[in-house]
């Protein structure tokens, strides 16, 4: 019941926004919506690549360290690439957004980095090839103070260690 209600509300919002955007000339807000699902970043503009077609980072919801379907897909690509390049070790950096206390965010970053590391291990990468480091909220990639910027900062990034 609640679900269908919220679904209907969402539908109404979409309908309204379509009408609004049709009236006003196209606003960037619709583009912003397109870069987030829930509050997980789904865009690409801060993403770098370990190799062709292998993105270096995955994104998290607020206060979460659960890997999304898209994140798991990215990490499988990283695992495949690491299997083919067995001489390369990596560091997984865990990060949080600026909307949390510093110490808790350090722990959260560590939890996120380990979520990514564990997934790589599941796909056959040896644990001693992967180290982790948490930067908490100390190294944002986007310096804005808005939900989209924060979503880009809630991330774990796999970087080459050697």
């Amino acid at each position: 019941m609640n679900f269908s209600k919220s679904f209907r509300n969402t539908f109404l919002v979409i309908l309204l926004s379509l009408i609004v955007s049709a009236c006003a000339t196209k606003k960037t807000t619709t583009k912003v919506e397109g870069q987030m699902q829930g509050d997980v970043y789904t865009g690409t503009d801060t993403v770098k690549y370990l190799a062709d077609g292998v993105p270096d980072r995955v994104f998290f919801a607020t206060n979460e360290s659960i890997l999304t379907t898209k994140s798991r897909d990215t990490l499988r690509k990283q695992a495949n690439w690491l299997r083919e390049n067995s001489s390369i070790n990596v560091v997984v950096e865990g990060h949080a957004d600026e909307r949390g206390t510093r110490e808790y965010n350090l722990a959260l970053g560590e939890r996120r980095a380990n979520a990514a590391k564990d997934y790589l291990i599941t796909y056959g990468i040896s644990a001693d090839r992967i180290s982790v480091i948490s930067y908490g909220k100390e190294r944002p990639v986007d310096s804005g103070s808005n939900p989209l910027s924060w979503s880009k900062n809630r991330r774990s990034v796999t970087v080459k260690a050697n």
Binding site: N63, S65, T101, E103, Y104, A107, N114, I133, V141, G144
Partner: protein, 448 residues
């Protein structure tokens, strides 16, 4: 018999001080009516002025000291220092015997007078505190130190005056250690910095080559524990402020962070994160024995001891979200104490033992608040876009914390500053720092 006589004297003293002391300040309530006080410049004769210029490159160190006192009393929010332009009596004459009518005329209720001399590389200071309405001296003190200590002299006078008029220890002869911040948000350079409580005498203790966070004093304020990313390994370090010696605390196979000293200074309590789980540990600084205090798959961090060493408060997300807990210092009897709406973090036990200060996040706003140690009586002192990490003044009357401003989409407009607020929720003010600043920690009273 002697005992009875002693008792008699004590009672007499109590009665008499109660009967004649017209001025006293109640600091337990928000003080909206600060006490009018006249701080007369400390008198200095011409010979001493010449020595003052030679020693300190300051012409009249007596007036400078009185300015330090005046500023301290003003920022406490409990005093209203009167303009010196209105003073009718000269400093040297006032110090001998004030004409109370003159000071009453300008509405002063208390008066500070004093005298300084610099001779043979020694700074001698005497000062008196006068009750104008009762027409009598309340306190007289004298001390000698090296001339370069003149600002501390001002702080010590402030503490004595504060203590005499409020009945509680002051907090002016103290220092703040904090993290100095510079550069863009995405590449912030952070250094450990230390300064006097009033923002003077800033010294930088690290160069900014590696990220440093969360410095905290030990009980004697000679050592600092903090988090450093030296060689990209986030670890808890120990720094001796005088010698500059640094050492890593323990050899943990993962990140150690959120350090604090135990109130007896013998242990460091901190979080250790490994395999995605953060728990609380202590390390004995003498024998280096490490003890695990919590063992839970949630994030347990930001631990802080009660002043009697018997309890620890910390935050944990074991309930699903970040909340505040209290346990015995051996890790037993874990009890959640925060039950309000929102997330709670950074609990810090008050030096008086009765309260825990915290950061609260609710509906996109950050609050600094206090609650009793059983979680009752929650009181939010200040609301803002972002603020956290309160640290108590040594007398438990004031909290210092840091506040960040919102940046626009280009990342402009960001700043981080130190702020202080009284436990009453009044007297909120920015603490001056040379650069942007965060993670403040208040020292103990340096002189006693």
């Amino acid at each position: 018999m002697i005992r009875i006589i002693n008792l008699f004297f004590i009672i007499f003293f109590l009665l008499s001080s109660k009967a004649y002391s017209l001025i006293e300040i109640d600091i337990t309530r928000g003080n909206l009516d600060p006490l009018p006080i006249a701080v007369s410049p400390l008198f200095q004769d011409d010979n001493s002025k010449r020595n003052s210029i030679n020693e300190l490159k300051i012409e009249n160190v007596g007036s400078e000291i009185s300015l330090v006192v005046e500023n301290n009393l003003k920022i406490s929010g409990l005093f209203n220092p009167l303009s010196k332009d209105a003073f009718l009596q000269k400093p040297d004459i006032a110090h001998l015997k004030p004409r109370f009518e003159d000071w009453a005329l300008i509405k002063a209720q208390a008066l500070i007078t004093g005298k300084v001399t610099i001779e043979n590389k020694k700074l001698k200071v005497e000062f008196r505190l006068w009750d104008i309405l009762a027409g009598r001296e309340m306190m007289a003190l004298a001390f000698t130190t090296v001339p370069s200590n003149w600002r501390r002299v001002g702080h010590i006078i402030s503490d004595k005056v504060y203590e005499r008029l409020t009945g509680e220890k002051g907090y002016f002869d103290t220092r703040i250690i904090y993290v100095s911040e510079e550069g863009p948000k995405t590449a912030r350079v952070k250094k450990l910095a230390i300064m006097d409580q009033d923002g003077f005498n800033t010294k930088y203790l690290t160069l900014g080559n590696e990220l440093v966070l969360t410095p905290r004093f030990n009980p004697t304020s000679q050592m600092v524990t903090y988090l450093s990313y030296f060689k990209n390994l986030p670890r808890v370090y120990l720094l001796d402020i005088e010698t500059g010696t640094q050492e890593v605390v323990g050899d943990f196979p993962g990140m150690t962070f959120a350090p604090r000293f135990s109130p007896d200074g013998k242990k460091i309590i901190m979080s250790f994160a490994k395999d995605g789980n953060s728990d609380i540990y202590t390390m004995d600084l003498e024998n280096r024995i490490v003890e695990r205090i919590t063992n839970h798959p949630s994030i347990d961090t930001s631990p802080s001891y009660s002043p009697d060493n018997r309890f620890i408060t910390f935050n944990s997300d074991r309930s699903g979200y970040q909340q505040i807990y209290v346990m015995k210092s051996d890790g037993s009897n874990v009890k959640r104490i925060s039950f309000g709406k929102g997330l709670y973090g950074t609990p810090v036990w008050s030096p008086r033992g009765d309260l825990i200060a915290f950061t609260k996040l609710h509906k996109g706003k950050f609050y600094i608040g206090v609650m009793r140690t059983d979680g009752s009586g929650e009181r939010l002192l200040t609301e803002n876009y972002y603020q956290e990490a309160p640290s108590w003044s040594p007398n438990g009357r004031v909290l210092i914390f840091y506040r960040e401003t919102k940046s626009n989409d280009k990342g402009e407009g960001f700043s981080a500053k130190l702020w202080s607020i009284d436990l009453t929720g009044y007297n909120e003010r920015q603490v001056q720092t040379e650069t942007d600043a965060s993670d403040p920690s208040w020292s103990s009273l340096l002189s006693n």
